[in-house]
Symmetry: C2
Subunit: 321 residues, 2 copies
């Protein structure tokens, strides 16, 4: 079994040990339901990988790894209310299965639960972990607010978009990784490097997600092609197109947004993007962030083996695109 799989199994088995009281059922049933609902457990695995890279036993970081995963699940429950999402990980969302009030309140409890797990870490590390966790949690909320604001914004720049995905997605990866280096008492310089590695990996991964939506192999990606185009989502692809389009092409780009035949909409958009060099430019963003991540990982001074963490990077980026 690969190291990644081992870590992911360890996290899964620790998640099942998180116990909630039986009552009030309307508060805790949704949490048992949601936490047992799978997910890749990517973030806590990053914490354990960084802990081992930092030279201490992964078991030393279990609690703060779980705090990261539980926080992530809290944010999904609340985001799903805000996005009116009916389905998450193939199952009905909490606010749909129960109601919004229950989803708000059980989400709140889950956020507190994350802090409770964090408080179970060895107390010498608590102040540092807490400071980073608070900063990260606030940034994740800022990212979600920016994402919601973008839906009704007339004009969003590429820089604003990158900032939004950094806050909404990447800072939690950076935090997860830095947790491992805090627990393993690494240098401030190494801590900064692994955090920034997480930031860059996160941004690259989100850009890859945008690319795969339009250019991925639907059998491998596991969802329909062009979902973002169909819903007029402001992805990096779209923002680059908007930045590059002038004259006729700008007109066409605006018109295609109201095309009712969704398949024609996707193929027409692909054609416009082709002319505007959108795919190539997006890939160059992806490659830049990816390369920055790899360089940062290389620069971390450690005698431990980096192969497990590289296995994770390869796992994240070996989807076809």
């Amino acid at each position: 079994m690969s190291e990644l799989l081992k870590l992911s199994h360890l996290i899964e088995s620790e998640i099942t040990k998180i116990e909630f009281p039986l009552s009030p059922g309307n508060l805790y049933d949704p949490l048992n339901y949601f936490l047992s609902n799978g997910g890749k457990r990517l973030r806590p695995v990053l914490t354990l990988l960084a802990t081992e890279l930092g030279g201490v036993q992964k078991e030393d970081a279990i609690n703060c790894a779980l705090a990261i995963e539980v926080f992530h699940n809290f944010s999904l429950i609340h985001d799903d209310i805000m996005d009116a999402a009916p389905i998450r990980r193939g199952k009905v969302t909490v606010h749909e299965k129960w109601n919004s009030n229950i989803a708000i309140l059980s989400g709140d409890v889950l956020l507190v639960k994350a802090y409770q797990l964090l408080a179970n870490q060895k107390s010498q590390h608590i102040p540092e972990l807490l400071t980073l966790f608070n900063k990260t949690a606030i940034e994740v909320c800022e990212g979600q607010q920016m994402d919601m604001d973008f839906e009704t914004s007339e004009f969003v720049t590429v820089d604003e978009y990158i900032k939004m995905i950094r806050l909404k997605t990447s800072v939690l990866l950076g935090c997860a990784l830095e947790f491992g280096f805090i627990v393993s008492n690494n240098s401030i310089s190494n801590r900064k490097k692994i955090y920034d590695f997480g930031i860059n990996i996160g941004i690259a991964f989100q850009i890859q997600d945008d690319l795969l939506d339009l250019y991925g192999n639907p059998d491998k990606v596991g969802k329909q092609v062009g979902g973002d185009v169909k819903s007029n989502k402001k992805t990096l692809l779209y923002l680059i197109a908007e930045k590059n389009a002038v004259g006729d092409l700008r007109e066409k780009l605006n018109q295609v947004k109201s095309e009712l035949d969704l398949n024609s909409k996707v193929s027409a958009t692909q054609e416009i993007y082709e002319t505007l060099g959108v795919k190539i430019e997006t890939k160059s963003y992806l490659d830049r962030y990816y390369q920055q991540a790899i360089d940062l990982l290389d620069s971390i001074e450690t005698e431990s083996d980096k192969s497990a963490i590289m296995e994770m990077v390869n796992y994240l980026f070996n989807r076809e695109h």
Copy 2:
């Protein structure tokens, strides 16, 4: 100026120093709006009172006192969504002035902000403060869920009601007070006493609130008489009536709930309650919790003066009833 007023001014001035970033405005504007919206600042004042009673300077506990107040404000923002409340402290609620999504997310940020303030305490106390704060925060959510569940429950016992108000209201008072004793390095025995003092004061205060709704002087209470009766709220008065009523009176008690003329509803209910001895029994509950609180306060071993904290108790209980 009385000691209470001094502490309350200190808290007010510290609250105004809490700064949020300008952007995203939809995340932070609601927080500036809500936090500057007054309120009695009762809970953080309790922390400072306990800190002084514990024999150290109140300034040593400012951050954890603010954490309590900020947490309280978070819970109000989210409760107002769940209760669909249009007005809070005489001003439009956040979810009404903006929308529910913004109220959810800015509430989330405020909860994290509470932890950020807590993390600013001297680090030797952080683990203990954090453990108590987490436990309390979870209990407050449990209380809110019980309160929501009661609305649709057919049968609620007096014990369940007392448990609900203990969780929803009192544990935060207990936590606020014990914070002061943690910061002042008090004994475990004294910490338990001041916490339990807070629990009993909180329950007594909530019972007084129920009594004043029906039997208070409207000029002094500042709201209409019988609001709880008009909305068929399951207060302690109602639950005692339900417990005591048999035969005809039980029938009458059920019928009066659907009376459409609201003034007749209030006077008819008062008549039924009179026959059932509801006011006297409710007062005996109030007196019991109040007396337990006073006994606990008396039993705290300290050389400091308890007059300021007694001034607070008198302030809370000198309304006419």
